[in-house]
Amino acid sequence: MENTTNQNQIIPPANRWIRRLKKLKNNRAGVLGLIIIAGLIITALFADYIAPYSYKAQDLSLMNIPPSMDHIMGTDEFGRDVFSRIILGSRISVYVGVVSVGLSVLIGSLLGALAGYYEGWLDRVLSTVTDLTWSLPEILVALLLVAVVGAGVECVIIAIALTYWAQYARLIRGQILMLKNEIYVEATRSLGATDFTILFKHLFPNAIAPVIVAATIGIGQAIVLEATLGFLGMGAQPPLPSWGAMMSNGTAYLFISPWVIIFPGLAMMITVFGFNLFGDVLVDIMDIREDTLK
């Protein structure tokens, strides 16, 4: 076998990410989504530098001022700059959205993969738990947690993670059930692979694409849920500026200073929209089968 045809180094071809990003040029909605997400992340990371005022600096002489050159989104009932608070609030939204959905995907895909791969009693137990979880309303779980550990961002994250994982578990389970009958699984097993290798190295990467799409949309939902819980007073506690809490406080002054509600609402709308568009882009980027050899 030791022939000498390959003395030279074996070098992998250039990274295909550039090619994938080029493909995006034709997908305007995707580019828009990507820009929104990138903008959001930059805002969250550099919030301290972008915000013109402190999020908690009160100035009672400047209460409920409409948008102007000094305060481009006006001020709230304590004279705090709404724009600065929205900028800081993006941190909470991104944090809650990404961490809670990240946790749910982790839990969900692990349990779903085990259920789909091993079937039998393990599947019956896990599927029952999944179905039970599915039937729990997030807000009730959050209420329960608040009663036990007190309100706060972490409480929201745990509430979302505990309820959202079920949908990812179901998705992955279905994928694994289908994929494990593929011939390449038998082929891998005939090469001496262990269950662990087959499940996590071969089935998982093939099964994960729809979960990632669902997860990006889930991040949008989680952000809305955080706002809902914030609106109900269960999320980030004052003076932390969560978008939901901002809107909640603003309701009292709806007819005096509507900008206190409108701008956080807009910020949230754009963010969720961005994540939904981004989900579609990810499908394109991740599908290696669409790569062409040119």
């Binding site: 076998m1 097993r189 001496g192």
Partner: protein
């Protein structure tokens, strides 16, 4: 010492309608450097035989219910799954039925060859890559260094088949089982692959079990042939002997079905009827429903395996003591 001995092996599967037995008491053996052809219609139990040897049945709700499978004097039915994992791909490799789907679509083909190799051999990645590329080149893959980094969907069927063979060969197995490796390929590629197998077996002195329903491939490539029907071995022997003088009516019928150039139109032969499904195997000789020479004894008594001349073994009442023409 034979490389592999399959001795009186029966296999059963648990299904919703009860237990079925797709293999009943099959026996054959193969030596190093030998090519054995396993032939029969769809449903005759060829692939189940391969899965039984590979120890894959437990994953499919099946098990070997009786008999012995010995590989280099080691009883494969007595070892644990962990030990089996060290044998699969390392000492015995299976090239599964369809090259189009036996590669994982999300990995580069080279990485899949390397994965199989590193499962068993402690080897640095760079060396493994070199070895994989060498094996690929020896299998006649042009531009192996480039193909190594391509994904399965970027390759043609013939190339994919070679990759799958490379996966099977990379760890230097003693026994290769190829389950219809040429079925999905066009005739010219088929011929190349058959040639490839012949060369590989000769170079490495390994055993090859060739599962196919293509009698052309068998006569071209194999040393011995095992004809299977409905979970039984109905005839086995040296290829030249069996093909020159087929004894079992099923073997004869199979050989008649081969189309030839210059045949008059509409003269393509087929064997009447179908292979019975595994839950409805008939009593007596399992072939009697389709057999042109059927006698009453065939319906009631299962034929014994008989030693005919020329080393041929055949399972048919015609050659037994109870056969009388006048019946």
């Amino acid at each position: 010492m034979s490389l592999l001995v399959v001795d009186n092996v029966s296999v059963e599967f648990k299904t919703r309608d009860g237990i079925v037995e797709p293999l009943s008491g099959i026996s054959f053996k193969i030596d190093a450097g030998e090519i054995l052809g396993l032939v029969g219609e769809t449903g005759s139990g060829k692939s189940v035989t391969a899965q039984a040897i590979m120890g894959l049945l437990p994953f499919l709700n099946g098990r070997v219910s009786s008999g012995r499978i010995c590989f280099r004097d080691q009883d494969l039915l007595a070892i644990s799954e962990d030990q089996y994992q060290k044998i699969r791909g390392n000492h015995i490799s299976l090239i599964s039925q369809n090259p189009m789907t036996s590669l994982d679509p999300v990995y580069k083909v080279g990485d899949q060859i390397v994965e199989g190799l590193r499962q068993h051999v402690v080897i640095a990645r760079d060396d493994a890559v070199k070895r994989a590329v060498n094996v690929m080149t020896s299998l006649g893959i042009p531009n192996s260094e480039k193909v190594f980094f391509q994904y399965p969907h970027q390759l043609s069927g013939g190339l994919k088949q070679r990759i799958v063979i490379a996966m099977g060969l990379c760890a230097d197995p003693h026994l290769l089982i190829a389950d219809e490796p040429t079925t999905a390929l066009d005739v010219t590629v088929q011929a190349q692959i058959v040639e490839l197998f012949r060369k590989t077996v000769a170079q490495r002195n390994i055993g090859l079990i060739m599962i196919t329903h293509d009698l052309g491939v068998i006569s071209n490539l194999c040393d011995t042939v095992v004809v299977m029907y409905a979970g039984h071995v109905v005839e086995k022997g040296r290829v030249q002997e069996v093909f020159a003088n087929p004894m079992h009516p099923y073997t004869r019928a199979l050989l008649k079905c081969i189309p030839k150039f210059g045949m008059p139109e509409r003269s393509l032969k087929a064997i009447q009827g179908n292979v019975p499904s595994v839950s409805t195997f008939p009593g007596g000789c399992r072939y009697h429903l389709r057999c042109p020479d059927m006698k009453p004894i065939c319906m009631t008594e299962a034929p014994q395996t008989l030693q005919a001349g020329n080393g041929i073994e055949v399972q048919c009442h015609q050659f037994g003591p109870n056969w009388r023409e006048e019946l």
